[in-house]
Amino acid sequence: MSIKVRIPTPLRKLTNGSDEVSATGRNVGEIIEDLEKAYPGLKERICEGDGKLRRFVNIYLNDEDIRFKNNLETELKENDELSIIPAIAGGAA
């Protein structure tokens, strides 16, 4: 299923400037794999070497932090929206 994913400013270099992209997958982990195919290098920025979400990267499923759901295994439904949001805002805007 195709899901909308919001991309934060510091990762937009990888998405050719897009602040919102689409990806397909049944859960958040699959979405990340699909994003990596379309935008190589993106997975490394948000996941550790062992595939776990980096500690200071949050992913929200419709405003809820996936860490308090099923993490990367959180399942997705039609019209769900994901946002990738660094925990610490900032850097050079």
Partner: protein
């Protein structure tokens, strides 16, 4: 001469130049200052420190500025009070109050972080100081910026204590009250920092700012005769102070000024805003944000603490624990500290002492080990918390008879002269 090597990501270790940076561009982790301890060892000894003036800059080699401090030269070296009356009341052997209620110039430990942040900000060429604050930081940024001739912009939740608002406005900077929680103020400030490029002490200057809290820990060790306490209880908002006190102890140990660090570190929060304590008690690494903090300890009302993960880790790995207290318990402990030791701490101090009492009662802190309780702010700034909670003065006419009647009504006999 600077012993500051670089900024370094706490998560992935990537190094960055010593500029106004705070987030790792690779993994989004927070940046921290790294030092050249071998070189510091060559120049700094306990004797060198002891000969210096009694302020926090006596540890300047361990602080992140390149030159001499230009802001807050008089800050720190507050009393460490051996609190024997309190010890008796609590049934413990040895308890100390580190009293930053009398820190210079704005009566909280925040003057430590602000003097480092603004001294560094000036070295980096900033002319405008700013912050997001729960109150004490607001006071300190406004005052220290004024003294340093810097313009200031201070952002606070609009429902703070009146004294904290007045104690910010008086210095003449711009004070903006935001209709919302601290976390909402902070989010807005991140956007403002990105857009306006000012020195937001706890945002883009945060790696330097946070190091200032280490001096609270250095002083405790020095004042104990270069020894570390067996237990320390620290109030937490964003969770920075507690991690930096522990870092300070470790650094003193690396330099050989104290032995190995075995201090158990305990965190304290208000029951109405306990994201870090909840995680510690539930045994999880995840900090679940509190959306609507509700406590009289407004200075600690941060629902989404930036250093929550690291502070929980310090408590866990040091063998400490965490505790939280209700508004009632906060007030009760503010009174106990005032009545036993003559120290009027703000609500945050009530949180810390109240939590310490619970930790002692539950046996997490042993009654025959040394304990330091960190008092980080002044009670005169949070007076409305006591409204209706202490007896009003008795009002009489200026007549001796009325006073005599008062004494009689009190029921206690006093010797009088014939």
């Amino acid at each position: 001469m600077s012993y500051m090597k670089a900024l370094k990501c706490r998560e992935c270790g990537k190094e960055y130049p010593k500029e106004a940076l705070h987030v790792c561009e690779l993994c989004f982790g927070p940046l921290e200052v790294a030092y050249e301890y071998e070189k510091i060892k060559g120049v700094l000894t306990r004797e060198v420190i002891e000969k210096r003036a009694p302020n926090m800059w006596r540890y300047k080699e361990l602080l992140p500025i390149d030159g001499e401090p230009t802001v807050g030269a008089q800050v720190g070296y507050t009393p460490l009070v051996k609190a024997d009356n309190l010890a008796k009341a609590l049934g413990v052997k040895e308890i100390y109050i580190k009293n930053d209620a009398v820190n210079y110039p704005t009566l909280s430990f925040k003057d430590r972080v602000v003097s480092v942040a603004l001294s560094r900000a000036r070295e980096l060429g900033f002319k405008i100081a700013a912050c997001a604050s729960t109150g004490n930081l607001a006071n300190s940024v406004a005052a220290n910026a004024a003294a340093a001739g810097m313009e200031s912009f201070v952002f606070i939740p609009s429902d703070l204590e009146q004294t904290k608002i007045v104690g910010t406005l008086v210095y003449g900077g711009t004070v903006v009250g935001i209709k919302g929680t601290y976390d909402e103020v902070n989010r807005l400030c991140s956007e403002i920092a990105g857009k306006y490029g000012w020195a937001f002490v706890n945002i883009n200057i945060r790696p330097y700012y946070a190091e200032g809290s280490k001096t609270f820990g250095y002083e405790i060790a020095e004042q104990l005769g270069w020894k570390l306490p067996q237990n320390i209880v620290v109030p937490m908002a964003g969770g920075s102070l507690i991690t930096k006190i522990h870092k300070a102890f470790k650094e003193l140990s690396i330099l050989g000024f104290v032995g190995p660090v075995t201090t158990k570190v305990f965190g304290a929060q208000a029951a109405g805003c306990s994201p870090i304590i909840n995680a510690v008690k539930e045994g999880t690494e995840l900090i679940r944000p509190v959306n609507k903090p509700n406590t009289i300890a407004k200075s600690l009302a941060i629902g989404n603490p930036a250093d929550g993960y690291y502070s929980a880790k310090v408590m866990r790995e040091s063998g400490g624990w965490g505790e939280n207290v209700t508004d009632e318990e906060i007030i009760d402990s503010m009174k106990l500290l005032a009545e036993t030791e003559g120290i009027f701490a703000e609500t945050a101090g009530g949180v810390t002492l109240g939590s310490a009492r619970k930790l002692i009662d539950s046996g997490r802190i042993s009654r025959d080990e040394s304990i330091v309780v960190c008092v980080t702010g002044n009670g005169l700034k949070t007076q409305e918390a006591l409204a209706g909670k202490i007896n009003p003065p008795t009002i009489i006419n200026a007549r001796l008879q009325e006073f005599d009647d008062l004494v009689k009504a009190g029921g206690k006999e006093y010797a009088v002269r014939a």
